[in-house]
C-alpha cells in the first residue's frame, strides 16, 4: 500500500506532467489524497481522467458558458472552490455532462467548509449534499464515471430536517437539567448587579 504522502505527490507530479499548472496540480494531489483517505477510489478516477486526456476536457470558466459538456472535474471543482464566496452563484446551476464526478467532492467539501455553504448535487444516477460538516457518505462509495444532465444548487441556508414535535420533546427533556429558582435564588445566584443603573 502507498502512503497518502506518496499518493498526493504522485498525483501532483502526474498532473503537472499532463500540462496543468503547479497550483492546479497541488489541488489535484490534495483532492485525491482526501478521497483515498476517505475510502473513495480517487486514484483510479484520476487515472481514467488522464486516459481521457486532461487538456482535452472542457474547463468550467463561467456557469453561463454555452458548452457544459465533457467537463473536467478538477477545473469544475476549482471553479466552485474559487468562486463560491460570490453570492451571485448561490442558486441552481445546470450542466450537460461531467467526467469522473467523484473528483469534485473534495473541492465542494472544502468550499462548503470555508464559506459555510451547502451543495446539492442532483442527477438521475446520483444525488448528494455536501455541507460544512465533516460527514459525507455516498451510497456504497461508488460514483459513476460520467454523469449527464445534472444540477448543482448552492445555498448558504441550512434546512430544518426534523419535525417540530421532535424538537419540542427534546427541548422539554433538556429543561430537566435546570434548577427551579426561588425568589431568594434569583437574588443571590445572579452574577451581575441587581440594578443596571450604575
Amino acid at each position: 500500500m502507498h502512503s497518502l504522502y506518496e499518493i498526493e505527490t504522485t498525483i501532483k507530479r502526474s498532473s503537472r506532467a499532463k500540462g496543468l499548472s503547479w497550483g492546479v496540480s497541488e489541488e489535484a494531489g490534495k483532492a485525491v489524497r482526501v478521497l483515498e483517505q476517505s475510502k473513495f477510489q480517487g486514484l483510479e478516477s484520476f487515472k481514467r481522467l488522464i486516459d481521457l486526456g486532461l487538456t482535452k476536457l472542457n474547463r468550467l470558466l463561467d456557469v453561463g458558458q454555452s458548452d457544459t459538456s465533457n467537463l473536467c472535474p478538477i477545473h469544475f471543482g476549482i471553479f466552485f472552490l474559487d468562486q463560491s464566496h460570490n453570492k451571485d452563484l448561490h442558486r441552481i446551476h445546470k450542466f450537460k455532462n461531467i467526467n469522473e464526478p467523484l473528483l469534485i467532492l473534495p473541492f465542494l467539501s472544502k468550499s462548503a467548509k470555508n464559506n459555510l455553504l451547502y451543495f446539492d448535487f442532483k442527477s438521475s444516477d446520483l444525488n448528494f449534499t455536501i455541507s460544512p460538516g465533516d460527514i459525507f457518505f455516498i451510497d456504497k462509495n461508488v460514483v459513476p464515471n460520467n454523469l449527464s444532465d445534472f444540477s448543482l444548487t448552492i445555498s448558504s441556508q441550512r434546512k430544518s430536517l426534523y419535525d417540530q414535535s421532535s424538537w419540542d420533546y427534546l427541548y422539554k427533556l433538556s429543561l430537566e437539567t435546570f434548577v427551579e429558582e426561588t425568589e431568594e435564588k434569583k437574588i443571590s445566584g445572579a452574577g451581575a448587579g441587581l440594578t443596571d443603573n450604575d
Binding site: 502512503s3 504522502y5 506518496e6 499548472s21 503547479w22 483517505q37 476549482i78 464566496h85
Partner: protein
C-alpha cells in the same frame, strides 16, 4: 523599553539564515528533553563476530514503545559512498512503531537495506542508512582490541564513527503518514522521530565497535571509554535534496524562525540581568571557542566564515568583559554584536544567549510545528488590489530585480529522474528547464505581480484565477506570508550568486547540527549529538551538554 521582533527583512536573508547555529530550540535537543524520562534499552543484539546482523533498541514509557532496528551489512570498500545515490550501506535503520515481532524483522531485513529500492509499511516511521568513517572505525577497533583507548585527536577531528545520509519520514517509501502520529504528545516538536532514529543510531555505532573489537581479541579488548564516546556524535552528509524543503514548507519555516525570534525578543527585554546569568553565558562562550577548533573543513567558504567567527568572537569577548550596563544588558549586547560582527558571529551569540534562559526558550520548542493544510486554501474574496499591496509590502526586496538579466535567472531546480532527488543546474547550458520545479519564488512573484497589476484592481482573486491559473501556487505563498511573515527566504533562489549550502545549513541548524563542513556549494557534512548524553545517561542529562568543552 519596547523591544520588537527582528524584522523579516533582516532575518530572512539567506546570508543570515545560512549563519544560524544550533540552540536550545534545535530538534535533537528538544528530543532529548522530551524523552529523557523514557526507558532506553537494547532489546535484541544479533551481530556475528565481524559485526554483521541486527540490533533492536527500544524506547518505552510504560504505555508507548518505539524501536530502532539497525541492520549491519558487509559491503566492499568500492561500494561505499555517502552520496544519497548510493545503493549499499554499512548500516541501515528503521524506526518501528511499537516493538517488532520476528516476522517484522524478517520483512524489514529484506527491505530496509535496500532503502529507496525497498518498501516499508505504515508500521514503520523513519528510514535511514549510514556508512563507516573507515579510517576512524578501523583505528578504534584496532586500538580497543589491543586494550588501549583510541587516539582522541584523530577521533575528535572527525567527530563520529558512522555518517548517515538521508533520514526519511512522513510517508516516504510507504512509511507511516504524519497524520498517524501527529497528535501524539511526545511528538509535538518537529522531526522528533527522525531525531530519535539518529540518536539511537549513534548508540549503535558504539555498540558495533565494542563488539567487533571484542571478537578481534576477546582476551585483550576493552570497551570504548564513555568519556570518549560521549564526545562523538554521528555524522551526516546532506546534499541539495534538503534545500527545497524550506521553500516548500513556508508555514513550517515561519514557526521555526519565529520561535527563535520570540526567544531573542524575550531575552533582550529582560530589564535586570543577574551576575549569575552573565557568568553562565561567559562560561559557555569560553568552552565553545575551544570546540570551534575542531570544526575542520576543506571548504574555503566555510573556512572564511569560521575564521571570521573566531575573529569576531575575540572582539566580542573584549567588549563583553569590559561592558557594564544596569538595564537591558542583553539588548545592549545584542545591538553591539549586530553592529560590530558578521552574521555568523551574531547568530552564534544569539544561540548562546538562549542557552542561559531555559524557562524562556524551552516552552517555545512546542510551538515549532504547524498544520500546514490550514494555510493551503486561497482566500479568493480578497481584491487584486489588496494582494498587490501585500506583495509591495512583503516582497519589496524582489520588485527591483531584473528577471530579464540572465544572472538573475541563471539556475533552475529540477527533480533528477535517476537520482530521485532535487537538483539545480545552469538554465542556459543544460537541458531540462522546461521541467523546472516551482522553486523560482522571486521570479514567479514578480511575474504574478505584473499579471495582477494589469487586471482591474477592484475585482477579486476569484476573477483573476478565472483568467489564469499559472501562478496559483505562488498566490498561495503570498497569502501564507501575509499571516506568517517569517515564511519566505528573502533572496532569489535561482540567481547565479545563490549559495545553496546556506539553505541546507538553515535546516540543519534547527536540527541541531554542528561542525558544518561544506564539500562544495551544494552539499555539506555535519555532526549531530556530539557531546550528548549516552543512552544510559539520558535520564540524568540536563541539556547543557552542547556547550561543554570536548575533552
Amino acid at each position: 523599553m519596547q523591544i520588537d521582533l527582528r524584522k523579516p527583512e533582516l532575518v530572512m536573508k539567506l546570508d543570515r539564515l545560512g549563519s544560524f547555529h544550533q540552540s536550545k530550540l534545535s530538534f535533537l535537543r528538544s528530543f532529548i528533553r522530551e524523552f529523557k524520562n523514557w526507558e532506553f534499552k537494547t532489546n535484541e543484539f544479533n551481530l556475528d563476530n565481524r559485526g554483521f546482523g541486527h540490533i533492536v533498541y527500544v524506547v518505552n514509557n510504560g504505555q508507548k514503545q518505539y524501536s530502532l532496528i539497525c541492520f549491519s551489512n558487509h559491503i566492499e570498500d568500492s561500494e561505499r559512498s555517502d552520496r544519497v545515490i548510493a545503493t549499499k550501506w554499512d548500516a541501515s535503520f528503521v524506526l518501528f512503531d511499537g516493538v517488532p515481532a520476528k516476522e517484522d524483522i524478517e520483512r524489514l531485513k529484506a527491505n530496509v537495506p535496500l532503502q529507496e529500492q525497498g518498501r516499508v509499511s505504515e508500521k514503520e516511521l523513519c528510514l535511514s542508512r549510514a556508512n563507516k568513517s573507515v579510517r576512524v572505525f578501523e583505528h578504534v577497533v584496532d586500538k580497543l582490541s589491543k586494550g588501549i583507548q583510541p587516539d582522541t585527536k584523530l577521533l575528535y577531528s572527525v567527530g563520529y564513527l558512522y555518517r548517515t545520509t538521508a533520514v526519511y519520514g512522513s510517508g516516504k517509501f510507504g512509511l507511516a503518514d504524519r497524520i498517524k502520529i501527529q497528535d501524539r504528545e511526545e511528538l509535538k516538536g518537529p522531526f522528533r522521530l527522525e531525531m530519535m532514529l539518529v540518536y539511537l543510531a549513534r548508540q549503535f555505532t558504539f555498540d558495533v565497535v565494542n563488539h567487533v573489537a571484542h571478537f578481534r581479541s576477546p582476551s585483550k579488548a576493552i570497551k570504548l571509554s564513555e568519556d570518549i564516546a560521549r564526545n562523538l556524535g554521528i555524522g551526516n552528509s546532506t546534499g541539495l535534496g534538503m534545500a527545497p524543503f524550506i521553500v516548500n514548507h513556508p508555514a513550517l519555516l515561519n514557526q521555526w524562525i519565529i520561535a527563535k525570534e520570540k526567544a531573542l525578543k524575550a531575552i533582550r527585554s529582560i530589564l535586570s540581568v543577574s551576575q549569575k546569568d552573565k557568568d553562565i553565558f561567559e562560561s559557555y562562550l569560553s568552552a565553545i571557542q575551544e570546540n570551534i577548533k575542531y570544526w575542520n573543513t576543506e571548504s574555503d567558504y566555510q573556512k572564511k566564515k569560521n575564521k571570521q567567527l573566531l575573529k569576531d568572537l575575540d572582539s566580542f569577548q573584549n567588549f563583553y568583559s569590559t561592558y557594564t550596563s544596569k538595564n537591558y544588558f542583553w539588548n545592549s549586547i545584542y545591538e553591539w554584536t549586530e553592529a560590530n560582527t558578521q552574521s555568523e558571529c551574531c547568530e552564534f551569540i544569539v544561540s548562546l544567549m538562549m542557552e542561559v534562559y531555559p524557562d524562556i526558550v524551552e516552552p517555545l520548542s512546542y510551538e515549532m510545528s504547524i498544520n500546514e493544510d490550514k494555510y493551503f486554501d486561497i482566500d479568493t474574496s480578497k481584491t487584486i488590489d489588496e494582494v498587490c499591496k501585500l506583495i509591495e509590502n512583503q516582497y519589496t526586496w524582489l520588485l527591483n530585480i531584473d528577471f530579464d538579466n540572465k544572472e538573475n535567472i541563471f539556475n533552475f531546480w529540477y527533480y533528477s529522474k535517476n537520482k530521485q532527488e532535487p537538483r539545480m543546474s545552469d538554465r542556459f547550458s543544460e537541458e531540462g528547464s522546461e521541467l523546472e520545479l516551482p522553486l523560482a519564488i522571486a521570479r514567479d512573484i514578480s511575474a504574478l505581480y505584473g499579471d495582477l497589476k494589469s487586471c482591474d484592481l477592484k475585482r477579486d482573486l476569484g476573477y483573476y484565477l478565472l483568467k489564469s491559473q499559472e501562478y496559483r501556487h505562488i498566490l498561495r505563498r503570498v497569502l501564507v506570508c501575509e499571516k506568517l511573515p517569517y515564511s519566505e527566504i528573502q533572496d532569489n533562489t535561482i540567481s547565479k550568486t545563490l549559495i545553496p549550502v546556506d539553505m541546507i545549513r538553515l535546516k540543519l541548524s534547527f536540527f541541531g547540527a554542528t561542525r558544518f563542513d561544506p564539500r562544495s556549494d551544494r552539499w555539506v557534512r555535519i555532526t549531530m549529538y556530539q557531546g550528548a548524553p549516552l543512552m544510559k545517561e539520558i535520564s540524568t542529562s540536563n541539556d547543557t551538554w552542547s556547550y561543554k568543552k570536548i575533552a
